[in-house]
């Protein structure tokens, strides 16, 4: 992996001539987790997809750049709410998908190491349908890490999980993705309060920077300051919606 760059997003998006979001500036600090918190439909996923270079159906005017000047879209790994595991392929083949798609040789040692780190070694031959929701999302995390990209884009990857599994996944992701530039799009104030080195609340009015709790991320689920931050974020979301 090359060293993680800082990413700046600066611009506006229009759908059929109407603004999806007004001009806004978002900075993803190098090697840090930036959380983008907001309700449905404010365009937070669109920002993530624009950074990833994916189709969005909007007209974007502005610029997306990395601090080192190299193109951004080729250096991202993407993880969505849907684990996007291929149902016909084994865990092992799902994790190695990127190399197979590019016709590259599979780095098997690395794949095995990642399987260990997401604690799925004994499941490597199974199909996704044989796994639980949490296990599937761990496979997706391993697949994301297998790509070894400096920028990681997470589009609500834990929101379909039950509370306990979600907390476990947050810890695991924070541990395994440390040192990379991460954008986490989420609608969950608790998640943003636990994981963000920087927290941005996105509403139709624009972006609001909120300073994160002092404790190092991932913060404990019962850390009073983190719970306070979660409440403050929730209040901000509700106020903007009203």
């Amino acid at each position: 992996m090359d060293s993680a760059p800082e990413i700046t997003f600066d611009g506006r998006a229009d759908v059929d001539g109407a603004a999806l979001f007004a001009p806004l500036a978002l900075r993803l600090e190098a090697g840090q987790w930036t959380c983008l918190l907001g309700g449905s439909g404010v365009g937070k996923s669109t920002i993530l997809r624009l950074i990833a270079g994916l189709e969005t159906g909007v007209r974007f005017s502005g610029r997306i750049a990395a601090s080192d000047g190299a193109p951004v879209a080729r250096r991202v790994a993407y993880m969505a709410q849907d684990d996007l595991l291929l149902p016909w392929a084994s865990v092992e083949r799902n994790i190695g998908l990127g190399a197979r798609l590019r016709g590259e040789r599979q780095d098997r040692a690395r794949l095995m190491d990642l399987l260990d780190r997401v604690r799925l070694r004994e499941h490597l031959g199974k199909r996704p349908a044989e796994l639980s929701g949490g296990q599937r999302q761990r496979v997706a995390l391993a697949r994301t890490l297998m790509e070894d990209k400096p920028v990681i884009l997470l589009d609500e990857p834990f929101s379909a999980l039950d509370a306990r599994t979600r907390a476990d996944m947050q810890d695991l992701a924070a541990e395994l993705l440390s040192g990379r530039t991460v954008l986490l799009v989420t609608h969950d104030p608790a998640e943003a309060a636990r994981l963000g080195h920087a927290i941005n609340v996105m509403t139709p009015a624009g972006l609001t920077q909120v300073s994160p709790p002092d404790a190092p991320a991932p913060r404990h689920v019962d850390d009073p300051e983190t719970l306070g931050a979660q409440g403050a974020l929730m209040r901000l979301l509700r106020a903007e919606a009203a």
Binding site: L54, R74, A77, Y78, L97, R100, L101
Partner: protein, 243 residues
Amino acid sequence: MKYGAALIATVFALLLWQAVVLLTGLPRFILPGPAVVAEAWWSNRAVIAEHTLVTALEVLIGLLLGAALGVVTAIQLATSRLARVLVQPMLVFTQALPVFALAPILTLWMGYGLWSKVAMAVLIIYFPVTSAFFDGLMRTPRGYLDLAQTMQAGKRSVLWHIRVPAALPSLASGLRLAAVYAPIGAVIGEWVGASRGLGYLMLLANGRAKTDLMFAAMLTLGVFSVLLHLAVRRATMRMAGEH
């Protein structure tokens, strides 16, 4: 349990048939009863077997060729906009033509032998296979394509590693449909002009008022079609993602 239900349904149908024969008192050259047909089947078993073999061969070759053509066409259509513009309307139009109307021309072009029947079977299954597989190829879940794009996958590799495998269940349903249609195509071909095959045997028996033999040939065709359908179903289970 499944077989038990099938057995009960068969016995019920036979009883119903026998009841109709008894109640209406129709003569055996109009509606022969099950026992009469069974007897005709047994005494003509060698002839029926010979003609069944011919029809089976036509159907199987037709099925293989039609499926292969359908798969290739669907992939072409799915990967090329030009192919979609040029070929798709034609495909729909050929489906709008009654295959029955084409049978005499095919016989004229390809003769009375095997190949005009194979061509009929191919024609009749080509569209369902093509359209089922093509639909599947065009409905790849958006998320898979996004993921592949962030992985810098090329078009070909997305096709082989994602779009085709994701479309296999659709192809399986197309093939299952084809297994039902293919015998119809072959038999229509035989009706228009043939000297062998179950369709030919049915016409021959009908023309000579051997209604019991006609029924025997027809039921043989029915059993063959059901067995073919079951075999194709089994063969495509993995493809359809059923285990």
